[in-house]
Symmetry: C2
């Protein structure tokens, strides 16, 4: 054991496998956001990570696997985030809905780089069954939770004319549509504004459980 502490403690040259993989996935997100999926190469990713050329093949075997693992990471982070939010919200279905909406427009999920990457994967999803499966699973799980909360609220609040499934589909669609605004039009749309728009939808849909919509800009 060396006498001196020595070394830049900030960045070890050799790191545990999982840590390096995570580092490369983060670099992939930055590269896809900065250069687009088409211009993201092994070189742009490894350079973004501050590591060498061959590092990706060492940890992920191929570029394809790196991209799949990146999508899987985004997908799992999304699920963990809303699961946590729902748990914290407790039993009340209205609280659960509000928590899921809030989560959709806050870090770590709603980050401009990550939004760009989501859309990049969606754009490739028609030609890549693996992407489509991961996306479909994320969507299914999220929407099932949304639907459950809507169903509970319809029951508990006596909204007999509402179809929980349709409301969940509407809310989910609105969310991804607002993500698009945040991505392509960040000057006209903020995360807080996007959240308010979703809450307005909840307000007219479940008027007895959410504060009424006002003429906000």
């Amino acid at each position: 054991m060396g006498k001196a502490a020595l070394k830049s403690p900030a960045r070890k040259r050799t790191a545990p496998k999982q840590e390096r993989q995570q580092q490369l996935i983060q670099a992939t997100i930055r590269s896809v956001a900065k250069n687009g999926m088409s211009d993201t190469t092994m070189a742009t990713v490894s350079s973004e990570a501050g590591l060498s050329q061959g590092i990706i093949n060492l940890h992920f075997q191929s570029k394809d696997r790196l991209l799949v693992e990146t999508l899987r990471f985004l997908s799992e982070q999304y699920r963990e985030t809303w699961e946590k939010a729902v748990f914290k919200a407790g039993d009340d279905p209205a609280d659960r809905l509000a928590a899921m909406v809030a989560m959709d427009f806050k870090a770590p999920v709603c980050d401009r780089n990550k939004l760009a990457v989501w859309f990049a994967f969606w754009g490739e999803s028609k030609s890549r069954p693996t992407y489509r499966k991961i996306c479909a699973m994320r969507d299914m799980e999220y929407r099932a939770e949304l639907q459950q909360a809507c169903h509970d609220l319809v029951d508990q609040g006596g909204y007999q004319n509402l179809d929980a499934k349709s409301v969940a589909a509407s809310l989910s669609a609105m969310t991804s549509g607002l993500w698009l605004d945040l991505l392509t039009n960040p000057r006209c749309m903020t995360r807080e504004h996007a959240r308010r728009i979703c809450m307005s939808y909840l307000a007219i849909t479940f008027p007895r459980h959410f504060p009424g919509r006002s003429k906000q800009p």
Copy 2:
């Protein structure tokens, strides 16, 4: 002149410039839908068009310009389509809204190939200012029209608590979100179902101008 009609009348070897360019843009849409943006090459496009390697540089100078012109085509076709739909709908703002929603989920706009291409461009838009400008302009024009119709309906129908801008933003977001469903989950979402979801939103937002929402699946 010529005795025999001669020639395969179906495909002339030399065609007017504009016709060839259109042919190549259609081939680009098919290739991006089939192979994704990353795996769309000069070879896949020209082969999809049934033409030779050099043909794209002859007509578009570069791959970049081909892609930009493809996005511009989609954007202009979208605008022409909704302009026509709004014109046909006449003066009534509720009719105009319904017409724009219907147009969003019908050919030629709502084609699965074209949706894939839209998302591919959106995914690259953060890294390509040219893409972002074209997308932003399309969105702005469309939303201005939507907003106008909402504004008229708010005035005429006495919906004093509604903000036309927010309603337009909600509807627009819902539309692109439903496009995502149609792209990634075509088995669970149809164009007609998507249209109904939008109409349900209009029904709860403008209850005196649209038929009430029922418990449809």
